[in-house]
């Protein structure tokens, strides 16, 4: 005989409140996340729990599913099964804009900006929703001091204040990448996902760019996909190694470097390659 009671509004509220406690203060959590395209399973039961304020680098060989993981978290794809929790609340199956409103923002591997708008307009668009302007029709942008000021501040943060009125499509590649980061952080989200932010940049550009990322994400939870091991070990508090659709290790950089499983599956060959490349120069 079952003793279960039908759920009341009160018990549901209690459950909701408890879900935070279960989450244990994690900003982002993946629980046995799976995604298949047709018969091919790309993500095969990924688990990850990122604490608030941590900087996590996600590494792994090409095709391991890093970008797919980002697409699942940010709502571009819906997971086949498993859960994504943002600040303890389930967000899987939600649309990208709903997830963004809950405080998660992402950038893209291929530059994804508004090409025919100026730098300033690009950033202001990113700011509007979070300041509550939404679909406002009966107020002028020019009079929205808070939005304009925030956009100007962002422009200085990403060092594009001299290009204020330049159309985004006329920026250099590195400037567009910076703008991409600017749009991503504009809404004030506290969980930031950066998909290969330094892809295609020169070494000197990369190191300057990492400084920029460090600056603009102070106090935020950061997840970034990155190939450059120098960047990974310099930037991240923790490293998640994704191989074949699973998170095979998630630990501090030192621990991950020493992890034999990681050595075998991925890092050994990458580090050897990089050392060989550096020796060659």
């Amino acid at each position: 005989m079952s003793t279960a009671m039908p759920p009341t509004a009160e018990s549901q509220r209690f459950e909701q409140a408890m879900s935070h406690v279960h989450a244990g203060g994690f900003a982002l959590e993946l629980r046995d996340l799976r995604k298949s395209f047709g018969k091919t399973e790309i993500i095969r039961g990924a688990n990850l729990a990122v604490r608030s304020g941590e900087r996590v680098a996600i590494i792994g060989p090409n095709g391991a599913g890093k970008s797919t993981l980002f697409n699942l978290i940010s709502g571009r794809f819906a997971p086949t099964s498993g859960d994504v929790l943002l600040n303890g609340a389930r967000i899987n199956g939600k649309k990208p804009f709903e997830i963004n409103r809950l405080g998660l923002s992402r950038s893209f591997q291929i530059t994804n900006i508004f090409p025919k708008l100026s730098v300033f307009e690009n950033l202001r668009c990113g700011v509007l929703w979070s300041l509550g302007y939404r679909y406002t029709l009966f107020r002028f942008l020019a009079g929205m001091d808070d939005a304009n000021q925030r956009a100007e501040e962002l422009m200085q943060m990403i060092r594009l204040d001299k290009k204020r009125d330049t159309l985004a499509m006329n920026l250099t590649y590195a400037e567009q990448r910076a703008l991409e980061i600017g749009i991503t952080i504009a809404g004030g989200a506290n969980v930031i996902l950066l998909d290969e932010p330094t892809a295609g940049m020169s070494k000197s550009e990369t190191s300057r760019f990492i400084e920029l990322i460090r600056e603009v994400t102070v106090g935020k939870t950061l997840l970034t996909v990155e190939h450059d091991m120098g960047v990974v070990f310099g930037l991240a508090d923790k490293i998640a190694v994704v191989v074949y659709g699973e998170v095979i290790a998630f630990d501090t950089p030192e621990a991950v470097r020493a992890n034999p499983k990681v050595q075998e599956a991925y890092l050994g060959s990458v580090l050897a390659d990089q050392q060989a490349a550096e020796a060659g120069h």
Binding site: F97, F140, G143, E152
Partner: protein
């Protein structure tokens, strides 16, 4: 504040808007004939319609093939409202009848737009085409509302005259349209300065990214679609008062195509482009159609060349030249413009003579073997005439092509200089 300057009293803007009001005000004093006043009225209506269409095309990146549905249904609702006023069933002043059209446009765009704006891009275009066909087919089926072949006619001299305004004389109707034109243009311009207006541009540029900054792109498109529908409906309502008759063609595909064509010709990338487009629309459909039976062919050719060589329309041509002028380089291209202009006119005249002869042979062969063309008598069945026309066309085409190449080299050199100058100023 050091960060940015917001100038509430932008002098340039005041000058432009005052000039616009002045043009609307004095036009019928300068062009006093009946035909001119009628045309001016139609221009006002076309300006509102094309601007409303550009909210979709230029600002939202939505290629609609069915915008006439909303202006047209606005026309129908307005003419029925007008008839109710005439019958004494409805007590609203005639001056407010266009608002009825606007509300009808809003209502129907709310209804149909819910379906059409679910998708963007090609799918959106296809659905609007389907909607347009649907409504046009319905207009021929439900003659109680649409009036069948004869359409619905009305009488704008209805209700109580207000301060002696009866809307009997055409010039009174013109001024009603002028007021609506000014207000609607101002409102649509204001729309481009609001958060929704800007996010609509963002949706045009990159809808995927917009989803990741918190906005539901479908909602943005839907809201913009309704706003466009509202203003289209106002244009339709004004047309009802102006023509006092509404026939099925106002919701037809030809009208929708006209909005697309002239908005594009005027220039979809700048706010004022469709204003030029609206003016051209009336000039073409009233004057050009009087001048030649082949006017749609000429229009098609102009459209073709515009899409190929100046996809930003006339507005972008103006803005590009203003940019060159602001760097003091316009003087250098005057001669080239003159040669290009003369060449283009000669090509047009040569090709035009052949087009006119073909039209005459196909449509008016019974009227004899000669046509009048620019004061000349052309024998349409004489090989000499054809040879002459062909020779003139090809020669002028050759001259034009040479001038075009010369001009292109000159133009890109100037553009490169300007780019350099801009870079230099940026680094200062």
């Amino acid at each position: 504040m050091k960060y940015y300057q917001f100038k509430p009293l932008n002098v340039g803007r005041w000058v432009i808007w005052s000039l616009f009001a002045l043009v609307l005000l004095v036009s019928p004093k300068l062009f006093t004939s009946n035909l001119s006043v009628t045309m001016l009225s139609q221009m006002g209506i076309a300006i509102i319609a094309c601007l409303s269409y550009n909210i979709l095309l230029g600002q939202g990146g939505m290629l609609s093939f069915g915008h006439a549905v909303y202006s047209g249904l606005g026309s129908y609702m307005a003419i029925h409202a007008l008839n109710s006023v005439s019958a004494g069933d409805l007590a609203i002043p005639v001056s407010l009848i266009p608002i009825v059209g606007g509300l009808a446009g809003l209502f129907f765009s709310m209804l149909f737009g819910y379906v059409t704006t679910k998708k963007a891009g090609t799918t959106f275009a296809m659905i609007t085409l389907g909607m347009a066909e649907l409504v046009f087919a319905m207009s021929l089926m439900f003659s109680e509302f649409f009036g069948g072949e004869a359409g619905v006619s009305g009488d704008r001299v209805a209700g109580q005259p207000f301060m002696g305004i009866t809307y009997g004389p055409a010039v009174q109707v013109y001024y009603l349209i002028a007021v609506y034109t000014f207000v609607c243009v101002a409102l649509m311009y204001a729309f481009t300065r609001t958060p929704l207006g800007r996010i609509l541009n963002a949706v045009r540029d990159n809808p995927e990214r917009v989803e990741f900054i918190g906005y539901n792109t479908q909602m943005v498109r839907y809201l913009a679609f309704m706003i466009a529908g509202f203003f289209a409906g106002i244009a339709g309502g004004l047309a009802s008062i102006n023509f006092e008759i509404v026939t099925a063609e106002v919701v037809g595909p030809v009208r929708s195509g006209g909005y697309l064509l002239f908005t594009f010709l005027g220039g979809a990338t700048f706010f004022f482009g469709p204003i030029i487009g609206g003016v051209l629309m009336v000039l073409a459909s009233v004057l050009l159609s009087e001048l030649t039976k082949a006017w749609l062919l000429y229009l098609g050719l102009v459209f073709l060349f515009m899409v190929m060589y100046a996809p930003g329309g006339i507005a972008s041509l103006i803005m590009m030249n203003l940019r060159v002028a602001s760097f003091g380089r316009l003087r250098e291209v005057w001669v080239s413009y003159l040669v290009l202009g003369v060449g283009a006119v000669l090509v047009l005249l040569g090709a035009g003579s052949m087009i006119e002869m073909i039209y005459h042979l196909k449509l008016d062969a019974a009227m004899g073997d000669t046509i009048k063309y620019l004061g000349m008598e052309l024998h349409v069945r004489s090989a000499g005439t054809w040879f002459g026309a062909l020779f003139a066309t090809l020669t002028s085409l050759g001259v034009f092509e040479l001038a075009r190449r010369q001009f292109r080299a000159q133009w890109s050199a100037i553009q490169a200089d300007i780019e350099k100058e801009i870079k230099r100023r940026e680094t200062e």
